[in-house]
């Protein structure tokens, strides 16, 4: 086996390479850049599109939307998902809503305000051109989804209802009760289904991408495993689109689906795609606290609950009285106290950190003091129980099912949990990675949210990328790269294909051969605990160095002690899991290095060394106003840093203030 798997040395320093000069974003007034780009992009003659094959990996909002749209345009799409059906991608679990600058409320919203809010909410670490484009497209997304039959909430007059969300002061969030992600995903899934029926999309469910095939510097296919038969397959195309979601499961416990994983993006990174801002992870403030070591995942309670729920803890430390016995005067509604302007609706990073702070002070509630109250007593008095039930009924039911506590009577207990990763594969304005022909869309890329994502913006970005951005920009690539070797002339004998295929087979064979004494889950859990402690809500130089020392040791132990039963020629969920852990063990190291190198606090990345006197995140724009794109070298070896300098010509960076 290649020695690079078991490399145990650790690194904390790295080389800095060439900065990224060209992001392909057009110049000129920001509102016209997207039009400019679309006009300048070369087009593929509709008659010729059928001859182009595009691989799309993942069927969430971004992937499902992209697959359907590319097929509608006439391309031949081969699409993959590890689930048994494309309808199950984890976008389905998004609850709260989707933002759009429709200004139906006439409350002062506009494309520019959505752009402004998103750049500011991201703590000035996102690319302005991309964010503005996102805000522009947001309007079209709602039109598209309504036409597809997405049953958004409506007013009695038959028009669409909206609500407000964390970090903004307008009501621009469209929603479908607490199941907005589900409804939007089913819309994309249905559009995709129509293309599958038409024969334009070849759908491969229960098939997982395990490596990227790069031929002559361009992405030309993937290595995938049929999860039922275990067969390792190669698939070739003229371009590859990764829509594989985020990497929050590095933390073991997160709100991601159990099988969400980082393998596709990590394998692409190893093949040459730069990985940007891996330390930008979002900790969601309103999740159900864990109950014990058996916990396999965490469940989110929609942020929309903060519209009507009030967050508090006892004023006194170690107050173990039941909540109804704590009088009003002895409660600390700390968000309303510290941030009077936004109150309970401060952005997620701020709400999460505040919860951590009060728990660290010993004022947390529930088992282990790892929780704060989210109280609906006032809302029920004000609106009546029926209205609260109509708005949040399904969330309350879900809470009660998990905790066996009735939130209409007892305040909910919530605690922050890993939820979303702003970092991801570096992409240019066209959503193309540093590997020509490899595109990354949705949560898999790093693009639009900077260091913190605002609520209801993930659905917006996934659909913007999938329905509108990628289908426009990929034309340009395909038109400019008429491959000399068409997709069907590549085969397993090509040296690059052979190498990728062999590497994948060897890796799986090795996992099966070790026959040690620890399960894949036990390693994953240990890694997750390490990451939560040292690379979670608050990070320090010392802690990160500790993690960077420990991770290579854990990796080494993994390859000595892992136990995977069964064979590779069957449905083997342990093998799938173990293979994903291999990649977490490498990605975790990069996340820690990125967190260590970024010695500032911004958004979801909070370095204790860099805070204002009153404990807020202190950005250091002079030093860190860039996106950190890391280039892979070898396992256990320091990567090379490429900086993409961020210019803010339209939204001037300020200290975020929600007070």
């Amino acid at each position: 086996m290649a020695p690079d798997l078991t490399h145990t040395s650790s690194y904390t320093s790295y080389a800095t390479g060439e900065p990224i000069a060209d992001t392909k974003a057009p110049t000129g007034p920001i509102a016209q850049r997207w039009d400019t780009r679309r006009f300048e992009a070369k087009l593929v003659n509709p008659a010729n599109r059928r001859g182009h094959t595009v691989i799309v990996v993942g069927t969430g909002l971004a992937g499902g939307a992209a697959g359907a749209t590319l097929a509608e345009q006439g391309y031949h799409v081969v699409q993959f998902c590890y689930q048994d059906s494309p309808r199950r991608a984890h976008s389905i679990a998004a609850q709260g809503g989707i933002n759009a600058a429709k200004n139906y409320r006439n409350d002062g919203d506009s494309v520019h305000r959505l752009f402004y809010d998103t750049v500011k909410g991201g703590d000035f670490r996102a690319r302005e051109s991309n964010v503005h484009r996102l805000a522009q497209i947001s309007v079209e997304i709602i039109d598209q989804c309504v036409a597809q039959g997405v049953p958004f909430a409506r007013e009695y007059g038959g028009l669409l209802d909206t609500r407000s969300f964390g970090g903004v002061q307008v009501s621009r969030t469209f929603y479908a009760r607490g199941q907005t992600g589900q409804q939007l995903l089913l819309g994309a899934y249905q559009a995709l289904s129509r293309q599958i029926a038409a024969g334009n999309v070849e759908m491969r469910p229960r098939t997982e991408m395990l490596d990227l095939i790069v031929v002559d510097g361009a992405a030309r296919g993937i290595v995938a495993r049929d999860l039922i038969t275990g067969r390792i397959e190669t698939h070739f195309a003229d371009a590859v689109v990764l829509a594989t979601g985020g990497y929050g499961n590095v933390f073991y416990l997160s709100t991601n689906a159990m099988n969400s994983n980082a393998t596709a993006v990590w394998r692409a990174h190893r093949r040459g795609a730069h990985f940007a801002n891996p330390c930008f992870t979002q900790i969601h403030p309103t999740c159900i606290p864990r109950t014990g070591d058996h916990q396999s995942k965490l469940t989110l309670m929609s942020e929309s609950l903060r519209n009507d729920g009030r967050i508090w803890v006892p004023k006194a430390q170690g107050d173990t009285r039941p909540p109804d016995e704590i009088p009003e005067a002895e409660r600390d509604y700390y968000l309303e106290r510290i941030y009077p302007a936004f109150g309970n609706l401060v952005p997620r990073d701020i709400a999460s950190r505040a919860a951590k702070n009060v728990c660290d002070e010993g004022r947390g509630v529930g088992p282990g003091g790892q929780g704060v109250y989210l109280d609906f007593a006032d809302a029920i008095t004000r609106m009546g129980r029926a209205k609260v039930e109509e708005k949040y009924g399904n969330l309350f039911d879900m809470y009660e099912r998990i905790t066996a506590e009735n939130p209409y009577e007892v305040p909910m207990r919530i605690y922050p949990a890993v939820h979303y990763t702003m970092g991801g594969l570096w992409v240019d304005y066209d959503l193309q990675t540093t590997i020509p022909g490899l595109f990354a869309i949705g949560e898999a890329n790093f693009s639009d949210h900077g260091a913190n994502r605002l609520g209801a913006s993930a659905l917006m970005q996934g659909l913007a990328d999938g329905y509108f951005v990628l289908p426009a920009t990929i034309n340009d690539y395909l038109a400019r790269h008429p491959h000399t070797a068409p997709a069907d002339s590549l085969d397993a004998d090509h040296p690059a294909v052979h190498e990728a295929l062999t590497a994948t087979r060897d890796r799986l064979a090795r996992l099966l051969a070790v026959d040690g004494d620890r399960t894949p889950d036990s390693f994953h859990r240990e890694l997750g605990e390490l990451m939560w402690e040292f690379c979670g809500m608050a990070r320090t130089d010392t802690g990160l160095r500790k993690a960077l020392e420990r991770i290579p040791q854990l990796r080494d132990e993994f390859w000595r002690r892992i136990k995977v039963p069964g064979t590779g020629e069957e449905l083997n969920q342990s093998l799938e899991k173990a293979n994903r852990v291999v990649d977490y063990l490498e990605l975790a190291e990069l996340m820690c290095l990125d967190a260590l190198h970024r010695a500032e606090s911004c958004g979801g990345h909070f370095r204790e060394e860099s805070q204002t006197p009153d404990g807020e995140a202190a950005r250091q724009d002079d030093t860190f106003s860039y996106a950190a794109a890391w280039e892979f070298t070898a396992t256990g070896e320091a990567p090379v840093l490429h900086k993409e300098h961020l210019d803010f010509a339209y939204v001037h960076p300020t200290q975020r203030s929600y007070a």
Partner: protein
């Protein structure tokens, strides 16, 4: 808690299956049912045995992947998905039978994992509104009366888990199919394809080998999302209307 599990084990689609018995100990009432199975599987791996294969993903009750028949009930004794079932619904010392969905249209893949691609093909037959990206009119151009929007939503909640089929004595997919037909057919956006949609989806449902509906009502009782039984009547109405209005020969 200490429990005895009797689990359906089947190596692959064509193999014979059997119930195998396992003991699990140290189960917390706060565990979800799937976390209890995780515990069993951790044990099995360390003992060098093949862990029990089962479908699961979001573990939040929304993706529809989990699919276990527990003591004869699809998704177990509570009205929820398997992943949202907690061990506090069981007692110390209980024996629990765990089986896969059983229906001709859902062949067993391995152990408790079944192939539900027949559901995807029903949707592919017409469970969509044909609106290519970019061709949509302004969202407020067509107001939708709130009762219709609510009716659509109530049916759109279906997670495609297949509990309705698993619970139905006839292995019928009428509740699943009707949920999508009703979601789209009540909306003005879905009107142009109203007839073809219901005819094609019902046709595909029949072609997949699902049984017919005898209104036993088990589907609606098992449905974790509460898709109501009258959904089937509403689809029948659509179907009859479509046979009268169909412009096909």
């Amino acid at each position: 808690m200490r429990l005895t599990l009797r689990v359906w084990r089947q190596r692959h689609t064509d193999a014979d299956g059997t119930m195998s018995t396992y003991e699990v100990d140290g189960i917390s009432p706060d565990m979800s049912f799937l976390e209890m199975l995780d515990t069993l599987n951790e044990d099995l791996i360390l003992r060098g045995e093949d862990p029990v294969a089962f479908d699961h993903d979001c573990r939040e009750g929304i993706c529809g992947a989990c699919s276990l028949v527990i003591n004869g009930d699809a998704h177990g004794p509570e009205r929820t998905t398997t992943c949202q079932l907690h061990m506090r619904s069981f007692k110390d010392g209980d024996t629990i039978d765990i089986e896969p969905w059983r229906a001709a249209a859902f062949p067993v893949v391995k152990d408790l994992v079944v192939d539900r691609s027949s559901f995807d093909r029903i949707i592919q037959a017409g469970g969509y509104i044909s609106v290519p990206t970019g061709s949509a009119p302004e969202a407020h151009a067509t107001p939708v009366p709130k009762p219709d929007a609510d009716f659509a939503f109530e049916h759109a909640e279906c997670i495609g888990c297949g509990a309705c089929v698993a619970a139905c004595p006839n292995g019928s997919a009428m509740l699943f199919t009707s949920a999508k037909v009703n979601h789209l057919n009540v909306l003005p956006q879905g009107a142009p394809e109203r007839e073809t949609r219901v005819l094609d989806m019902v046709g595909q449902m029949d072609a997949e080998g699902f049984g017919g509906c005898t209104l036993a009502g088990e589907c609606a009782t098992a449905c974790p999302k509460g898709i109501p039984l009258p959904s089937i009547a509403a689809m029948n109405r659509e179907w009859l209307r479509a046979t009268r209005h169909s412009r096909r020969g």
